[in-house]
Symmetry: C2
Subunit: 141 residues, 2 copies
C-alpha cells in the first residue's frame, strides 16, 4: 500500500474515514501523527493518548468486524498554519444491509508535520438518543 | 465588570471555566470569538453553531440553576500561531453540598483574534456511565 501524501487537512480527513470504513488498522495508523500527544476519544469512551493506546483502541474496534458505511457532512473547518480543526457530522450506517443508522458529532484536529498533515486529535460523541435521556451528565453541561 | 484581556489560550480557558461555574452568561459570551463559525457541543447535545445559538444554549443551562464546581485536569495542549487546542478532563461536582460528581472530556479550541484569544469550539462528552452501556453509538465508534 502506498503511503498517502496527505498534503492538506482535507486529504488527511479523507484518508482517516477511508481507513475507518475499511477497518484497515495499518492505513488508520498512517493517518495519525507520530507524536506522544495525540488523543482519540471514541463516543462515550475514555481519552486514549499516544499512538500505542490509540492503535489498541482501533484494533479492538476493527476486530468487532461490524460493517460500516460513513457519510461525513456539515464540515466546519478552521485552519491555521500548523493546526486545522474540522467539526463534522458523521452519519454511520451499519447492521443488515447497512440499514441502521447512528449519528456522531466529531471534532478532528490535524497538525502539519514534516510528513504532511496528520490526525492529531479525534473526539467523537453521540447526539443524545432517547435511551440516553436522563443521564446525569446530559443535564449538567 | 472588566473585559478580560485573554492574552493567552490559558487565560481564555480560565475565563471560560470561571464563567461556567458562576453561571454568568455575559462573562461566558465575552470568552467566545465574535465569529459565525464558533461551535459548541454540550455532552450528548446537538451542534450549536454561531454566537446566537451558543448563547441560547448557555442561557438554558444557566437558568437551570444547578450549582456546580469544576476541577479541570489532565490538560493536553497543542498550540499554533492562530489556533490552540486543549483536551481536558472536567470533574464536575454538583447536587447537595456538591457531593455528586460526573466526569466530562472536553476539547477546547481557542483562536487568536484582534481582541486576544477567544473560545472557538467547545466539545464536551461524557465518559461512558454504566447506565449508558449498550447504546448503539457506544459500540460502533
Amino acid at each position: 500500500m502506498d503511503t498517502p501524501s496527505l498534503e492538506t487537512p482535507e486529504e488527511a480527513e479523507h484518508a482517516f474515514y477511508v481507513a475507518f470504513q475499511a477497518a484497515n488498522l495499518v492505513a488508520m495508523m498512517r493517518v495519525w501523527a507520530d507524536d506522544d500527544a495525540v488523543v482519540c476519544i471514541h463516543p462515550l469512551g475514555p481519552r486514549l493518548q499516544g499512538r500505542a493506546a490509540i492503535e489498541q483502541g482501533w484494533r479492538e474496534m476493527f476486530q468487532a468486524g461490524t460493517p460500516l458505511r460513513f457519510e461525513v457532512m456539515q464540515s466546519q473547518r478552521t485552519h491555521g498554519q500548523l493546526l486545522a480543526v474540522h467539526c463534522v457530522r458523521e452519519m454511520i450506517y451499519f447492521g443488515p444491509q447497512l440499514r441502521r443508522r447512528t449519528e456522531i458529532l466529531a471534532t478532528n484536529v490535524y497538525r502539519k508535520t514534516p510528513d504532511g498533515w496528520r490526525m492529531f486529535l479525534h473526539h467523537g460523541s453521540p447526539v443524545e438518543a432517547p435511551e440516553l435521556s436522563g443521564a446525569d451528565s446530559g443535564t449538567l453541561h
